[in-house]
């Protein structure tokens, strides 16, 4: 599948520089797992970091620095053989970085119903931004809302449509403060998304505003 909706340059550069909240890092890493174009672009931003490291000033290390580093590597090498990579769960829907946060595959997600058949699961990240998995039954609309901050929505299964276009698996919508939108899950199948927000959403109607504290969004 060709991914048509990508990460912005801002987000790729900030991911490479390490300036993003954990939840945003998570959605960037998940998108890149599904998108070769953004993976390749990330390689370029990392290379900018490498070039900066090349040209940056130097600060002398302390005199016994080399000795203590060599001590550390000797101590390790005589101990455990190799840092074995953690065994990663394989899942058809959730790419590896998400499996790490779910603690397993899609079957291990602890969904909580939030009304209208919609379910969510908030993932454990630092508090500057929130990452949640959303399960939206086919054809269901998420109420019309705007944002105080950034909202990123990445489709993992099914598709949704809103004012910004049609988004299928691997595609990400980057919605800023000026976008009011009503995402509707495609009618053909239930939709699973990863959504990341760095501030509470602003719902237009009265009922969702009352429901908001319960939704936790």
């Amino acid at each position: 599948m060709t991914v048509k909706h990508h990460l912005t340059d801002d987000l790729l550069m900030a991911y490479s520089a390490g300036d993003l909240p954990e939840a945003v890092n998570l959605i960037v890493a998940t998108h890149i797992s599904l998108c070769d174009e953004c993976r390749s672009a990330l390689g370029s931003y990392d290379a900018v970091g490498g070039a900066l490291l090349d040209t940056c000033d130097t600060v002398e290390l302390s005199g016994n620095s080399l000795a203590s580093v060599l001590d550390m590597i000797h101590a390790q090498d005589s101990g455990i053989e190799e840092n074995s990579a953690p065994i990663r769960v394989q899942d058809d829907i959730l790419p590896a970085p998400l499996c790490d946060y779910v603690g397993g595959g899609l079957d291990n997600v602890r969904w909580r119903p939030v009304g209208m058949g919609v379910k969510q699961a908030i993932l454990p990240t630092s508090s500057e931004a929130t990452a949640r998995l959303l399960y939206i039954p086919a054809g269901t609309a998420i109420p019309d809302h705007g944002h105080h901050g950034l909202e990123l929505t990445l489709v993992l299964k099914g598709a949704f449509q809103d004012e910004g276009g049609y988004f299928g698996r691997g595609e990400i919508e980057v919605a800023s403060e000026d976008l009011n939108h009503t995402p509707v899950a495609d009618i053909s199948e239930d939709c699973i998304c990863l959504a990341v927000t760095d501030a509470p959403l602003k719902f237009k109607g009265l009922v969702p505003r009352i429901a908001q504290p319960f939704l936790g969004i």
Binding site: E22, V28, T30, C56, P95
Partner: protein
């Protein structure tokens, strides 16, 4: 030749490597093999300038070559420490973290792929992750690895092509107008979001975004 610099080129080019990549590739393969065997036959004058530090990292990876590691340490240690101090760490903390970064270089050398990242780029990513770990106290989600198929050894032409692109990028960065380079450095070194840079410099957010965009355009242009 596989291009990884996707920000700058979106098409895969096969015939744009200027310095007969095959011949060069053979040369490099020989010198790598010699080093991996522990018989460092290169004299100081012949030290490989096309692939600075690649051979040393490969010797660390394949032969656990401590002399090569000490050279890597001597070159990158002071750079990593300077980088970490610019992210806001004091000298003592930066020293401790720089040591840990170099230990990670040793421990993770088996993951180093010279056709995917230059030594500086690879070590930058390790230092950056250390910064996130220490300053933000967060773990960093990484993309899923690509299923790389059966080809175990990367093509030497890819390795050389990547190094040349890296050097070209380094020159392009140095040639950026001061005001643009400063902002790119702040973003990478300072652990600052664009709006935090705005607070710090007093520049409007729009100016910062457009300067960074201009800088990236220039880099793209110079990589063509």
């Amino acid at each position: 030749m596989r291009r990884i610099f996707g920000m700058f080129t979106t098409t895969v080019l096969s015939s744009d490597c200027q310095v007969s990549p095959v011949a060069k590739g053979m040369e490099m393969r020989e010198s790598c093999a010699e080093r991996a065997n522990g018989t460092d036959t290169l004299t100081a004058g012949m030290r490989n300038d096309v692939l600075p530090w690649v051979d040393d990292l490969i010797a660390v990876r394949d032969a656990r070559d401590e002399a090569a590691f000490i050279r890597v340490f001597g070159h990158f240690g002071p750079r990593v420490k300077a980088f970490l101090m610019r992210t806001g760490m004091d000298a003592a903390l930066a020293e401790e973290c720089a040591q840990e970064v170099l230990v990670t270089v040793w421990n993770k050398a088996h993951l180093y792929d010279a056709s995917r990242a230059s030594p500086s780029t690879w070590i930058f990513t390790i230092a950056r992750n250390k910064k996130i770990d220490v300053l933000r106290k967060q773990r960093r989600p990484e993309p899923e690895d690509l299923p790389w198929g059966p080809e175990a050894e990367p093509d030497q032409a890819d390795v050389i092509g990547l190094q040349q692109e890296s050097e070209q990028l380094g020159r392009a960065l140095r040639d950026l107008p001061e005001k643009q380079r400063e902002l790119i450095e702040k973003a990478y070194f300072g652990d600052l979001s664009h709006s935090e840079i705005a607070d710090q410099t007093g520049l409007p957010l729009g100016t910062i975004k457009s300067r960074i965009r201009l800088a990236l355009e220039r880099l793209r242009h110079s990589m063509k």
